[in-house]
């Protein structure tokens, strides 16, 4: 039977991990468990539950900095930031709903957010969680408490271990305290919606938008049904009924500037198809839905998250669609084409290899986000690493977690190991 350990302080966390090191007990580390199905299953006799190690330690809006224990619910942090018209700029979506594992009502913890290095549509302009972590404290897989970074914006005092923690899925150390950069919410926002069924034209339009002076902070190609579901604006609704897919281009900033840029962008791209400028309320709803990947939530299909150079996104979609066998393939593009969400009805190991070959040729990588457990056992969740990079990854892991007790197999299952 699985035993759950729930430390309530960094000292208790250290005790727990020191014990696990000494007794060589593998631990599955969870916060609210909201992203437990992301990556591979961890087989561990003990669960290290971080959801009781909570609390905002300090928040100084005028310094743009917030520090909290890793188990603090994101919802709580978001609410506190919003009181001061601030936010995490990297706009993490509601990933749990995507995984459809029954914890959709929980938006996760700060620690989980950073450990998975999540980010949303604004990533293309401001980066991911990794770009906003200022410092952290953690217990490594050696049972030792250590810190890196700090609470200031600029810091080259020693190696930037915050980058190492972001996206390490709890395999090197368990963070107990994290300090992040908060940013002001934009004064207002608008979105230019353009009817566009052809994925290549959509790709070119997003490239043109990003290369313009209009400081686009979100560029996506989405199913028209999403527009219909999120917008009340009459012109937008009309566009949504006339097309299968639409471009959405977001502008943020002071009122005068946003409206000026929305006009400029409409003039630049208006020849592609019918277009409308949707107001702030619709805009906020729409981009939240894009961040949450709403079109693919709560469905059974196999879901891929593909990161490629933005200008290659449309071509990658075309190449993946080409062969028969994948069945119905539903697609959404974010990051001006740099992020492809692709949902297929069926997928086996050979199709996964096919998708990954296409993506690799485009200098990108594909993550299997959601699939039935038999497929998840068969297919690596993350694009396999080159042998040289794999070797460095393993050495880092051996140095931080020499006994292999922290989320073993979460990123790379033992049987898929080297050269997978």
């Amino acid at each position: 039977m699985t035993e759950t350990i729930s430390p309530t302080s960094p000292a208790q966390l250290r005790e727990a991990i020191a014990w696990a090191v000494a007794d060589k007990v593998p631990l599955e580390i969870i916060g609210q468990g909201s992203k437990r199905a992301y990556g591979h299953d961890v087989s561990a006799s003990h669960v290290l539950d971080m959801s009781k190690l909570t609390g905002i330690l300090f928040y100084q809006p005028e310094e743009l900095v917030i520090s909290a224990h890793a188990g603090t619910p994101l919802a709580e942090i978001a609410a506190v930031l919003a009181e001061n018209n601030q936010q995490f700029h990297f706009e993490p979506g509601d990933f749990p709903s995507l995984l459809g594992d029954g914890v959709a009502s929980r938006s996760g913890t700060l620690g989980g957010l950073v450990a998975c290095n999540l980010s949303g549509p604004r990533r293309l302009k401001v980066g991911a969680a990794r770009d906003h972590v200022l410092g952290f404290g953690a217990i490594s897989g050696r049972g030792e408490d250590f810190k890196s970074g700090g609470r200031v914006m600029k810091n080259v005092t020693g190696f930037d271990l915050s980058k190492l923690m972001a996206g390490s899925f709890g395999t090197l150390a368990v963070m107990h305290t994290i300090t992040l950069k908060a940013m002001p919410q934009p004064e207002t926002t608008r979105t230019v919606i353009i009817a566009c069924d052809d994925v290549s034209s959509a790709g070119q339009a997003m490239t043109a938008a990003m290369g313009s002076e209009n400081e686009v902070s979100g560029a996506a190609w989405v199913p028209a049904s999403l527009i219909a579901g999120c917008c009340k604006d009459a012109a937008a609704l009309e566009i949504a009924t006339s097309a299968q897919n639409c471009l959405a281009l977001r502008l943020e900033g002071p009122e005068q500037s946003v409206s000026w840029r929305a006009d400029a962008l409409s003039r630049l791209l208006g020849t592609i198809g019918d277009h409308a400028i949707v107001p702030v309320a619709d805009s906020l709803t729409l981009w939240q839905a894009i961040a949450d990947v709403t079109p693919f939530q709560g469905r059974d299909g196999i879901l891929w998250r593909i990161s490629v150079p933005p200008a290659s996104g449309a071509a990658v979609v075309g190449a993946i669609r080409a062969p028969a066998g994948l069945g119905q393939l539903d697609v959404m593009l974010d990051w001006a084409g740099g992020l492809v969400w692709a949902q297929c009805a069926q997928c086996d190991a050979s199709m996964a290899v096919h998708i990954r070959e296409i993506v690799q040729k485009a200098h990108g990588n594909a993550t299997l986000v959601r699939a039935p457990s038999n497929i998840r056992r068969e297919i690596p969740a993350f694009q396999p690493l080159s042998p040289e990079i794999m070797r460095i990854n393993q050495k880092i892991s051996e140095n931080f977690d020499p006994v292999g007790i922290l989320n073993p197999g979460r990123m790379i299952p033992a049987h898929q190991g080297e050269g997978a």
């Binding site: 035993e3 759950t4 350990i5 729930s6 309530t8 005790e15 020191a18 000494a22 809006p61 005028e62 310094e63 290095n117 980066g127 490594s140 030792e144 250590f146 810190k147 890196s148 700090g150 609470r151 200031v152 914006m153 600029k154 080259v156 020693g158 190696f159 930037d160 271990l161 980058k163 972001a166 996206g167 002001p184 490239t207 290369g211 002076e213 900033g253 002071p254 005068q256 000026w260 990161s307 150079p309 933005p310 990051w335 740099g338 992020l339 200098h363 990108g364 990588n365 993550t367 993350f382 690493l385 080159s386 040289e388 990079i389 794999m390 070797r391 050495k395 140095n399 931080f400 006994v403």
Partner: protein, 497 residues
């Protein structure tokens, strides 16, 4: 005096053999430097108080040559000091008597400009400004802009995670790099990241950036280029004291405005720069803010007004807004020439680089005045106010016995104070040798050991840039030993279910 690792006499004894091996790898004429006169220009970097002739300097021209050199060094246990343009201020490229200095300055080409992906692929010896020069004809630029940007190399920027005056809004080097090609000490060539945004595995690109040449040698860099803002305007705001200048910075940000640039200068810095470049700075204020707003003209005009209003409420006694590009450049010329301006009024100066929580600015400036009295040396301050990065310039005369030591002690006092108020030792210049021995002020033994364990994963024999960043290098055995304690009772106090 800083203690550097003892030269390895067995390596020195093999010098001729090593030179021959290097010439075999890099046959180009002049690419292996072994004569004392020709080695002299490499004896220091921008931290000129410390000098040491390298054993040899090698200037490879290809990634393959870098890999062959490092493989040879790894097999023969020879230390390596990577070097870019040599403009670093923390001594990160200080040579060692028994080490090969690898200069990357032959890697000076822009390889690819990918407008559609808004990315530029360059070799590490390209200057920071060189990237902007290569893309500006189509209205693009590379955002990080350290003040040495005309000379410093992008490879060196990676090593030190350089910032500049626009980093609050546009990020540091680490936020603007998309991909790296690097060579490990074992001679493996790694390609990290690329023109896409997310990569699987640990974020090796993130940890290489700012690693001060301790983890590998970068041979190719892909950076993000941005469309130049349509317009930019600068304003000068003068205050009767540092407190109100600092308050104004806090209020601008608390009002949700993130200016492109937000710089502050204290009275000594204002006077020195005004005497030097005649930028029209007011001489009767104690604190001067230089605020730059960029974006569409309509947005910039709007924000200029808002910042002006905020400044009024904070007690500004002087306000001027640039009305032309020439005037904007003039406003900046003072700030950008602050270092040479101090050089004019003092035979020597050292530039510190601590970062503090902005709210503690006036405390820290007051503390500096106390230190100034104690050490009998003058100090002027320029400050990246937006992100809390201080550059105190400590003035001294190296020809006066003991003054360098006093200046260094003064600098150490400032940095200790920065750490005490919640800041850090270096915002953008790096630790190098300069701040190496202060690392324990900020980090515990376990903190430092975990950093060194990362080093171990890349360079177990500790051949890359030894003597830099870490005050004491722990042995490999000590770092690997697991101090697992036997736990008597299984943590009885922790809630379990």
């Amino acid at each position: 005096m800083l203690k550097m690792p003892e030269p390895d006499s067995s390596v020195l004894a093999r010098r001729k053999e090593i030179i021959a091996a290097m010439r075999a790898i890099v046959p180009a004429s002049g690419a292996v430097i072994a004569e004392e006169d020709a080695l002299r220009p490499y004896e220091c970097d921008g931290l000129m108080a410390y000098r040491q002739l390298p054993m040899i300097v090698v200037l490879p021209g290809t990634t393959g040559q870098v890999a062959a050199i490092l493989k040879y060094c790894h097999e023969n246990k020879i230390r390596v000091v990577p070097r870019g343009a040599g403009t670093g201020l923390s001594g990160g490229a200080l040579p060692m008597a028994d080490a090969i200095t690898i200069s990357m300055m032959k890697f000076n080409r822009v390889l690819d400009i990918d407008w559609d992906n808004r990315a530029c692929v360059v070799q590490p010896g390209v200057t920071n400004l060189g990237i902007t020069r290569a893309v500006e004809h189509r209205g693009f630029y590379y955002a990080p802009d350290p003040s040495s940007q005309i000379a410093c190399s992008i490879g060196g920027n990676i090593a030190e995670n350089s910032g500049g005056v626009h980093s609050l809004k546009y990020g540091l080097t680490t936020n603007n790099v998309l991909g790296l090609e690097m060579v490990t000490i074992e001679g493996d060539i790694l390609r990290l990241g690329g023109k896409g945004l997310d990569t699987p595995g640990y974020d090796l690109m993130g940890i290489i950036t700012g690693s001060e040449g301790l983890l590998g040698i970068v041979t190719e860099i892909t950076v993000r280029i941005l469309r130049k803002p349509e317009t930019a305007r600068a304003m000068l705001l003068g205050f009767p004291d540092n407190q109100s200048g600092g308050d104004c910075v806090a209020k601008i940000i608390a009002n949700g405005i993130i200016p492109g640039g937000l710089e502050m200068m204290d009275a000594p810095a204002i006077r020195a720069t005004e005497d030097f470049v005649h930028a029209g700075y007011p001489l009767d204020v104690e604190s001067l803010l230089l605020v730059e707003l960029d974006g569409p003209a309509i947005e910039v005009d709007h924000l200029i007004n808002r910042v002006g209003d905020i400044a009024q409420t904070c007690g500004a006694v002087y306000s001027r807004i640039s009305e032309s590009e020439e005037e904007r450049a003039l406003f900046w010329s003072g700030r950008k020439n602050a270092f040479p301006a101090i050089g004019r009024i003092s035979p020597d100066y050292i530039c510190m680089d601590g970062t503090i929580p902005r709210g503690r600015l006036s405390d820290v400036l007051a503390g500096m005045q106390v230190f100034s009295q104690r050490h009998g040396l003058r100090v002027a301050n320029v400050f990246h106010a937006g992100d809390g990065n201080l550059h105190p310039l400590i003035m001294f005369d190296a020809n006066q016995p003991g003054e360098l030591e006093r200046a260094e002690a003064f600098g150490a006092d400032i940095l200790k104070l920065c750490v005490e108020v919640g800041g850090c030792l270096s915002g953008e210049h790096g630790i190098g040798i300069e701040k190496r021995d202060l690392m324990p002020e900020m980090f515990t033994e376990d903190d430092l050991k975990h950093q060194e364990r990362l080093k171990l994963a890349f360079d177990e024999d500790q051949l890359l840039n030894p003597g830099k960043v870490f005050p004491v290098l722990h042995g490999c055995g000590e770092l690997k030993t697991l101090h697992a304690r036997a736990v008597a009772a299984k943590f009885p106090d922790i809630p379990r279910f």
